[in-house]
Amino acid sequence: MSKILVVAEVSAGKLKKTTHSAISFARMAGMPFDVLVVGHGVGAAVEELRAFGAGAVKVADDARFAHYVGEVFAPTVSAAASGYAVVAVTASSFGKDLAPRVAARLGAGFASDIAGVDASGGALSYKRPMYAGNAVASMQVTTSTQVVSARQSEFAAAAPSGGASPVEAVAAVDAPLAGRVEFVSFDEVKSARPELAEAKVVVSGGRSLKSAEGFKTVLEPLVDVMGAAMGASRAAVDAGYVPNDLQVGQTGKVVAPKLYIAVGISGAIQHIAGMKNSKVIVAINKDPEAPIFQLADYGLVADLYKAVPELTEAVKKIRAEG
């Protein structure tokens, strides 16, 4: 029976929500699946994962997996993948780094950053956005094992289905390259806000906020009163106003929240690639010709320095009224 191996993402022993999208991929592909957890001190993550209907939760728990290093993880993941038809991971920065390595080791074809799967025709067909989402390809992998990375915004997080999958230990495989790549540090950016890829509401700012201070004083009050995640255009990231991992777009994060508010963002195609599948899009921009208005459901031509504080106050009032 062909099976899928879902590779979980853990960080400091904790299960990352990205994993739920890869599980959702496996369910949509309509094949039985196991989950593989590679990490250190992952007991709680494993417990959590037992409730998703996996045939087994396989675990490689070892001190050498305390931090993700592709060279160290890939041999163990590839060894565990033997006999599976599909190896699936979510296309987070972890999955984007790991999946092609595993494919290379297995000699497997790779479907990268897919936005859909169709199991109706016998062979799995994948939907792949290309050219910044301006074309959608239907593709198939022709090797006996396939490797897939699934776009988080397109595979809604799977919910637990109950039950308690059995847990199986798998051996950590020696990584010949371990001696030539050394983990030095992880400089973590902590935020109390929801993660971009998981948020129901995203408020993003562009170059027009002019400084880190601009983001803080003008945009953040709106972000927080909306309970939103904060995003940004590349121009704002490049200028150093906000950290890189807030970048929304073709080469940043792809998001599809219920509500996306673009503040002072022109709407370059690379930005649009990362947010056009949002359910409702609002744009606030002082230039009535800004391309972002061509896809916004609600466009407000206004100076953001006036409109954003007004909107913040209005939402505050609504929230206060309950």
């Binding site: 960080s11 931090h67 993700y68 592709g70 060279e71 987070s92 920065s93 972890f94 780094d97 092609p100 494919a103 290379a104 000699g107 790779f110 990268s112 950053d113 956005p129 290309m130 050219y131 910044a132 989402g133 301006n134 074309a135 959608v136 390809a137 239907s138 593709m139 198939q140 992998v141 022709t142 390259l177 001696g179 790549v181 050394e182 983990f183 992880f186 400089d187 973590e188 590349r234 990231v237 490049d238 890189n244 991992d245 073709q250 080469t251 509500l259 370059a268 195609i269 409702v280 609002v282 896809l295 916004a296 459901d297 609600y298 466009g299 407000l300 206004a302 007004e310 209005a314 939402v315």
Partner: protein
């Protein structure tokens, strides 16, 4: 030190919304779009030059070399030439139709080029902005069994040129890895910030202008005489079979713009009563 930068010719990424789908969804048509070097590959060239030169004087460290390699149509020679005008020393062009390539084949072909050229470092873009597949660097590193760092936003080369410390932009922050050369690096956007790349000759106080460098006319003229060796991809002796196939292409569902609202009050009212998201 010798660096190899793989560079892909892509249709103008700023106008990717003008692509068309050929009859019956058989093909993506990019006619009319100016072919340009993949932007991340330009950043890879810039980052490599910064590793190989003295920043303020742009003097190349003696014995160091930068080779550009591309797989693509004959016309890609133009794009290689531009990278040579930035400061690359020579180019290799392996002829292939874009449709006959995928990331896996490019990586396998690159592994052969690496065998021949013996670079200390291969610096690639993190993704080609046409296919958006983000895999060649990772696959290459596994094939070569070289250490690697993807999504680089900083590179520090040690004085003995034996190791690099690379800052990787990942979800939630920056991971630093120390790699023993030879190694593979794929670069992200911020690798071309003013102080992202550090070697042992550029003064610590020196700040590069942001972005990939402009090529002054004398450099463009000089690049005309730099060698580009061309050969069919088959000459590398790689299996040309692909591991995946594209069945068809389509345009994404169009998203129509909605309405303009006159003020914040109307926006709030619409979001509450019409969109029901507030």
């Amino acid at each position: 030190m010798k660096i190899l930068v793989p560079l892909k010719r892509t249709a103008d990424p700023d106008n990717a919304n003008k692509i068309k789908i050929g009859a019956g969804g058989a093909k993506i048509e990019t006619t009319g779009l100016e072919p340009k070097a993949n932007p991340f590959d330009e950043y890879a060239v810039e980052a490599s030059l910064r590793l190989l030169e003295n920043g303020p004087t742009k003097a190349r460290i003696a014995g160091d070399k930068l080779t550009i390699v591309s797989f693509g149509p004959k016309e890609a020679a133009t794009n290689i030439r531009q990278a040579l005008a930035m400061g690359g020393d020579d180019g290799l062009l392996f002829h292939a139709d874009d449709e006959s390539l995928d990331g896996d084949l490019v990586a396998r072909a690159l592994a052969k080029v690496v065998e021949q050229q013996k670079p200390d470092l291969v610096v690639l873009g993190k993704q080609a902005v046409d296919g958006d597949s983000n895999q060649v660097g990772q696959v290459l590193a596994e094939l070569l069994q070289w250490p690697s760092a993807t999504f680089a936003m900083s590179i520090e080369l040690s004085a003995d040129k034996k190791t690099v410390v690379v800052g990787r932009e990942v979800d939630g922050g920056v991971i630093k890895l120390k790699l023993t050369l030879p190694a593979v690096i794929t670069v992200d956007l911020r690798i071309v910030s003013s102080k992202s790349v550090v070697n042992h000759v550029t003064p610590a106080t020196f700040a590069y202008p942001e972005g990939a460098r402009f090529t002054p006319l004398p450099m463009i003229i000089k690049a005309k005489t730099k060698p580009i060796v061309e050969a069919p991809i088959a000459s590398l002796g790689v299996d040309l079979a692909l591991k995946s196939k594209y069945v068809s292409f389509a345009l994404p569902p169009a998203r129509k713009g909605g309405v303009k609202v006159k003020d914040v009050a109307e926006l709030v009212q619409k979001l509450r009563t019409e969109a029901k998201v507030l």
